[in-house]
């Protein structure tokens, strides 16, 4: 019997739990010649802001041990060009389209989501309230429970689509923030965004990134992400989408076991553009091998 990989989040059905993380997959068109996009459970776009942003000056990525630092600075085409140039391609795909929205004020989040709602052609919104790389990039909404409740409630007023809150690990208690997201009306939470990190060139004595600090991602952060998903799973009732160093199907199983229903593959897309395809196949084989009927039966089944 072929195991069932289907999951459902707030009425949206995913053919499998494997989606791609914002900022690691462009607007999907870049990957069209690399993998079968329709085979993905879903696609999360690059963060979209009200106005086009060039991002920070280079260097804005830096290789680290088993990972990387980035401080791209929310470079994106802006909501108008996104609607005109990117949605027509995305809406033809037979997979769940999640638009990631970033802003530097409550009004910006609301305005971008209102424009998206009018344009249509997507399934869900993910709010980036956790970008560590910009002065005002929503991080204040992701670190303060009251601000989190407010931003989600405000966005929900202008959209019919389910809203996912993407959480920052750079907080004292991620569970507190997750509970706030739930209280605000989030359909799900996704975690973790990158960890703040820094590297210094010992010859020039300057930071390796123009921005100084950046966000650490890749296999190096997976244990942190696993611990945080595990913690949040015990505290909330809405689904969790696990993110953080997922590179193969074993990582995927580990995230499911600690409570992730959905998954986002991020930095692995840079190294192995078909990583997602291997993860989907690997999950199927794992479930068959363990006589598990549905991926849902694996969620939160860690034995403590």
């Amino acid at each position: 019997m072929k195991p069932n990989l289907e999951i459902e989040i707030a009425g949206v059905r995913f053919k499998n739990p494997v989606t791609v993380a914002s900022g690691t997959f462009g607007y999907a068109e870049e990957f069209e010649h690399l993998i079968d996009l329709d085979a993905l459970g879903g696609i999360v776009t690059k963060s979209i802001t009200r106005k086009e942003r060039p991002g920070h000056p280079p260097p804005r990525t830096h290789e680290t041990s088993a990972g990387m630092l980035n401080a791209i600075g929310l470079a994106n085409v802006g909501i108008e060009r996104f609607i005109d140039e990117k949605i027509p391609f995305l809406k033809k795909l037979k997979t769940v389209i999640i638009v990631n929205v970033a802003g530097s004020s409550l009004d910006e989040y609301v305005e971008v989501c209102r424009m998206l709602e009018k344009a249509g052609g997507f399934d869900m919104i993910e709010l980036n309230v956790s970008c560590p790389n910009v002065d005002r990039g929503g991080m204040e909404f992701g670190t303060d429970p009251d601000a989190m409740i407010k931003v989600i409630a405000a966005v929900r007023d202008v959209t019919t689509r389910p809203v996912i809150a993407k959480l920052s690990p750079n907080v004292t208690s991620i569970a507190t923030i997750a509970k706030a997201a739930q209280q605000g009306g989030a359909a799900a939470v996704s975690l973790i965004n990158t960890l703040v990190g820094m590297a210094v060139d010992i010859e020039t004595r300057k930071p390796c990134l123009t921005n100084g600090t950046g966000g650490l991602s890749g296999p190096a952060i997976k244990p942190v992400a696993i611990a945080m998903v595990h913690k949040v799973y015990k505290e909330i009732n809405i689904p969790i989408i696990g993110i953080g160093g997922i590179s193969d199907w074993r990582d995927a199983v580990e995230f499911h076991l600690v409570g992730a229903l959905g998954l986002q593959v991020g930095t692995a897309n840079f190294i192995q553009p078909d990583a997602t395809m291997h993860i989907i196949k690997g999950l199927q084989t794992y479930l068959s091998g363990h006589n598990i009927e549905s991926i849902n039966d694996l969620v939160g089944k860690v034995r403590m």
Binding site: G55, A66, Q272
Partner: protein
């Protein structure tokens, strides 16, 4: 549509190009058919099986033979290239490619000035061979090749064999013209008609900056191929960017809009 997925290639040959042993030529047999390869295309190579180095490394394709074998030329400068240096015949390598854009082919009436600096040689040697195969007149392809010393000028015999005017130059004067490649080009410019001359360059960024200035000062058109550390190589990480010269406050991705750019497009 043909997918450019990672593929495991067999090593045909990995040979030293110089006596010091820091330059190598790696020839790989492609595991499956790819889209057609042109001069300027690059491949993204996983230099080791583990997580260190974490990123792939990008290399311009130095040539393709009739049996679909590609070669790259590299200099050992760090962890990734050191690992490549250890490869033996019949080992396997994980590559993605061909990626990026490629040099445009000029009209046969144009004089083509090729400016290769150091390890910028591979795509331009391939380009010169390609132009000759497309019947571009041999006397209209001028091959300038600059390096620090004589030892840094690779494949001199192969270049000579092409039968095109060859202008080697070295910083220390140990071989050919004594001076910078841009000085060597400038010394020959008076013989050329600017509106019938195109420049094609690849090499270290300071050299390309000087080359671009020279081209713009003399209203020469042409193209340069850039290099940058590339986390993804496929246009999504936005790490390998360069500022645009023709459009302020905006960037190009070296891996996606490039690596080949028109003279005057990128700020160097």
């Amino acid at each position: 549509m043909k997918k450019t997925i990672p593929q495991i290639c067999r090593v045909i040959n990995n040979r030293r190009l110089d006596t010091k042993g820091s330059y190598y030529e790696l020839t790989l047999e492609l595991g499956h058919k790819t889209k057609k390869i042109f001069p300027g295309h690059f491949v993204h190579i996983k230099t080791g099986a583990g997580l260190d180095p974490f990123f792939r490394r990008a290399f311009s394709i130095a040539g393709v033979d009739s049996e679909n074998r590609i070669s790259i030329i590299y200099k050992i400068v760090g962890k990734g290239t050191a690992l490549l240096g250890q490869l033996q015949k019949d080992d396997t390598v994980d590559i993605i490619g061909p990626l990026g854009n490629f040099f445009s082919v000029p009209d046969k009436k144009q004089t083509v000035v090729i400016a290769a600096g150091g390890v910028g040689l591979p795509p331009l040697l391939y380009f010169a061979e390609y132009l000759l195969s497309k019947k571009h007149p041999a006397d209209k392809i001028l091959f300038f090749y600059g390096g620090r010393t004589k030892d840094d000028l690779l494949k001199r015999k192969e270049i000579k064999k092409l039968g095109i005017p060859f202008y080697p130059c070295t910083d220390d004067g140990s071989f050919g013209f004594h001076g910078l490649i841009t000085e060597a080009i400038e010394a020959n410019l008076s013989k050329l008609e600017c509106d019938k001359t195109s420049i094609y360059g690849c090499g270290p960024e300071p050299m390309l900056a000087a080359l671009q200035r020279l081209a713009m000062d003399h209203s020469l058109n042409g193209e340069i191929s850039l290099e940058a550390p590339m986390p993804c190589g496929v246009g999504v990480c936005l790490g390998c960017i360069k500022p645009r010269l023709d459009k302020p406050n905006s960037y190009v991705r070296v891996c996606y809009e490039g690596p080949v750019f028109k003279i005057g497009e990128v700020k160097l």
